[in-house]
Assembly symmetry: C2
Homo-oligomer: 156 residues x 2
């Protein structure tokens, strides 16, 4: 059983990468966690937004198996409290799924086809950059495990 953060494009801000590393390290106490980054070519990035999103969709789908539990992090998704997010993760763990994927889209978000294929989780009504979301998500995932384990990090 492992949790994968699947994302588009390398993080280009060092402080975000450092924060993600910090929470990845802390998460490894609780579960196997990894970050998988899909790189989109420069030639694709020079095409229309619709074409870029289409290419991202194609590449994301090659990574996801039918047996995986997949959530898209998308601002139009369902908002959770930290406790509810922990409960949701706990219920997937209990169901014995092999992999849980949390997917962060590219700079323009997901295609409608992906949005209707998988459940959507929103971290905030606010829009954050697709790079910043990585750090927020890793902190929440870590927080979720401290809640599941009854540890002291979260003050509700």
């Amino acid at each position: 059983m492992k949790i994968v953060l699947l994302q588009i494009d390398k993080t280009d801000q060092a402080y975000i990468e450092q924060g993600v590393q910090e929470f990845s390290k802390r998460l490894s106490r609780y579960i196997s966690f990894e970050t998988v980054t899909i790189s989109i070519s420069k030639s694709t990035r020079s095409r229309s937004i619709a074409e870029q999103k289409q290419e991202e969709e194609k590449q994301l789908l090659t990574r996801l198996e039918k047996s995986d539990c997949v959530y898209l992090l998308d601002e139009i998704g369902k908002e959770y409290t930290s406790i509810q997010l922990a409960q949701q993760i706990q219920s997937v763990l209990n169901a014995g799924k092999k992999n849980i994927y949390f997917v962060i889209g590219g700079p323009y978000g997901f295609t409608d086809a992906l949005r209707s294929k998988y459940p959507l989780i929103s971290l905030s009504k606010l829009t954050f950059s697709h790079q910043m979301i990585r750090l927020f998500f890793c902190e929440q995932l870590y927080r979720a495990f401290t809640i599941i384990k009854g540890e002291k990090y979260h003050h509700s």
Copy 2:
């Protein structure tokens, strides 16, 4: 006219400080922006949660003038989209207030007295650490100004 991020306790994570610095620098193109940090003594930190919050309240109130426009960043507050937050800031700028304070509480949040004195803004239903919130807020404030100025950063 300036915007102040008023916060409790120094940031102890280097990556958060670096991210805040990055957005502070970018913000300075649009407005005078500063971060003011109130330090709570170790002896106060060894007291009860209620006493710590009380002391934080006292110290915050000494910084805030009647003529300031003050918002508390608090998870029970009103949620905005990025566009709505930009509009809110624009309307305060238009009203010609001298200072806008955005206040981030300590590790246990604000006292009820503070919560009823000032309007509350929630960045997310999720709970984030009071340190992480600094970075989220700075990115949103920068995003708000790019929206106000019609610049390219925000994709809605």
